[in-house]
Symmetry: C2
Subunit: 268 residues, 2 copies
């Protein structure tokens, strides 16, 4: 993370669908990120990925051939851990891939089947691991008295996988909210609190920040609701009908590769 001043434009960067897609770097993405480093544009990766821990994301970065420090990545798990600590909640049922449990630090995991009391039920993207039994366990936990808090690690609806569209975390959170008549605390995109803590980490005012993403709702609209300018890319989950949904991105680029030229023309 490059040190900032209030007068400098800063950038929030979504990862999946913007930097890489289906495990491969998007053409020209690496050069664009190098350009941001050379130009010392303050930036922070903001991802709703809960499928791998932060150190494994860093390894992935390394393999793909670019560098990032741990402090340059904001994930919903990091945000959830901070929120639980603030609230004094200690025991949580964590519906996340096992590898990411370590990012929760000293939060104590409880059984996922509703047989142990919990302060919180944390729901991340379990992908293909979701089945009735897991979802029903989360529901039974939420029906405990007193009821634990439901925490959503982001509210992404779906993503573009190698075989087609894949449900993400939000549909499962909606299922649980409806079943147990409760409302989730969302940590991650599109929650305003997530963008606000990203701005704090960057030391940047909203009006000097830009967010580049592939999700017209979760990235662009959510950022613009916080006063951050949104840059929509035509990669990842983008589809042309996204542009007629009443959300107007500040800019529209074919991909991250086009960012340096656009930046020089429009922000310099």
């Amino acid at each position: 993370m490059v040190e900032n001043s209030q007068t400098q434009n800063s950038l929030l960067i979504d990862l999946d669908g913007v930097v890489y897609q289906e495990g491969n770097l998007i053409a020209g993405a690496s050069e664009a990120l190098d350009w941001l480093e050379r130009r010392q544009v303050p930036h922070l990766y903001v991802t709703n990925t809960t499928s791998r821990p932060r150190d494994s994301l860093l390894q992935k970065f390394d393999k793909l051939g670019f560098d990032a420090a741990a402090g340059e990545i904001m994930t919903p798990i990091i945000a959830a851990r901070e929120w639980l600590a603030e609230q004094g909640l200690r025991r949580a049922a964590m519906f996340v891939p096992p590898a990411t449990l370590r990012d929760f630090g000293d939060i104590e995991p409880v059984a996922l089947d509703g047989t142990e009391p919990a302060d919180a039920v944390i729901v991340g993207d379990l992908g293909e691991a979701w089945d009735f039994s897991l979802l029903n366990g989360a529901f039974r936990l939420l029906m405990q008295e007193p009821a634990p808090r439901l925490i959503a690690l982001g509210m992404t609806r779906y993503w573009h996988g190698a075989n087609g569209l894949q449900l993400d975390v939000a549909p499962f959170v909606k299922a649980l909210e409806h079943a147990a008549s409760c409302e989730a605390v969302v940590v991650g995109k599109p929650a305003p609190a997530f963008f606000e803590s990203a701005l704090v980490k960057l030391g940047c005012a909203a009006e000097k920040a830009l967010m580049i993403g592939d999700d017209i709702v979760g990235d662009i609209d959510a950022a613009q609701r916080c006063g951050i300018r949104g840059i929509q890319v035509r990669t990842g989950k983008f589809r042309e009908p996204d542009l007629v949904r009443g959300i107007e991105p500040f800019a529209l680029l074919d991909s991250l590769a086009d960012l340096p030229d656009w930046w020089l023309k429009n922000l310099s």
Copy 2:
């Protein structure tokens, strides 16, 4: 179904949690139903069960020791079939237990993984059969262009199984609505159209009808919104906190067994 007159009180009867529970008749239920028959009270079983076809429900009735004719049972599948026929929709992806497919008559089933075009996606209670792949298939179907209609076989949130609370159909419908940004057509309780067609079948005005059920929301509140008096029983999924949710049942009985006495005192 006993023939009716507009001046006679008629009864809609929920099955699971009212007549039987976990496969066994509720104590005194059989005698109460016999009493209704002898007294010639017009009645209709209205169930959101989509786990078995109507003829199998009749066999279950038979085993439990009481009689009902096919015409005495309204299920969401029967209502869905009628709705699809009215709309001229023919090809549907049916997320229902295989045994119930025959209740759909000449509606043509399509693949559940989104690889064939569909006019409708029908979602029933698959219970433990739900997994990521099935739910994702329903989502992919709904993202087809043109988008098929999403049809919910009832909107029951959960039920009381032998091992504890079990998610029913509504949470899965909510997941799909959110993921695909669409709104389901609900056939079954608590949809007003379902109660209205039950009244038509009974030949009864709403103000002469009563609905006995265990679900304060799906049975009692839903019926009362249609002008039908609701009788809440303390069996099945009933829990005491249900009574402080701002819904006031017309009557509250310990179980169906108490209906004859209550009826004689209050409606005769």
